[in-house]
Amino acid sequence: MSGDPCGRCEELLQDFLDRTLSDSEWREAEVHLEGCDYCRRRYRFEASLRRYVRTSSLERMPPGLMEKLAELRGLDATA
């Protein structure tokens, strides 16, 4: 990586976690992460944050909502 290697690694962070990097960019990030604690910690933090955001929203439907939705079956297109 030329220029600021950590800056470049930061640019690749989101796509790295989304697995949308090209093969060469992926290698570029991996090589840098192997030698850079600063970026490696930040990547790890970002990955746990993503997991947290996902699991923070595992809320189930309120009781009774399913019945209300089921009652909507058969609604007329003109209703």
């Binding site: 989101q14 944050l49 996902r54 923070s56 609604l75």
Partner: protein, 194 residues
Amino acid sequence: MSEASPETDARRIATEARDRARFEEEALALADQVYRVARRLVGSREEAEDLVQETYARAFRSWRSFTPGTNLRAWMLRILTNLNVDRGRKIQRTPQTQTLEETDYYLANKVAAASGEDALESDDVVERLSQDSIVNALSEIQPQFRDVVVLVDIGDFSYADAAQILDVPIGTVMSRLHRGRRALKQHLAEGALS
């Protein structure tokens, strides 16, 4: 042209009733996932419930416009996000404009500054953010960015599905997603860690 015989007519009605019932069952099986997305798009549980009911009412009314074999979850979510946009227009929320931190390490840097570099390697730090702080942070993001974050990072939709649901190009989904995630981290830093 010959008239349809009563038998053909009866068969047509029976087939349609069967297709419709199948559609309704498949749509109802997705209710948990639809609710989950709705819950993160709007402020309260009550609003989410209303939005989901409106979504199902519209879906059941227009079931004929769904093409069997295509992605029903994306189709339902498209109805939901459109209804939510209409709803947003009605309450005329003015989206706050805000300067965004131009860095993806923003929240991590804040955490490291407050608790040390090693804190980034501990799951406790992330877990210390409460569910409420995520909900609050999401509610503060401008709607067009929030919708993408909710669909991709919470609803697990692909970029392509999110693009189809929101009726925008994939490139727009990607840029909004990056921006939305940064905004989320910024609000988390301001709310939960300040």
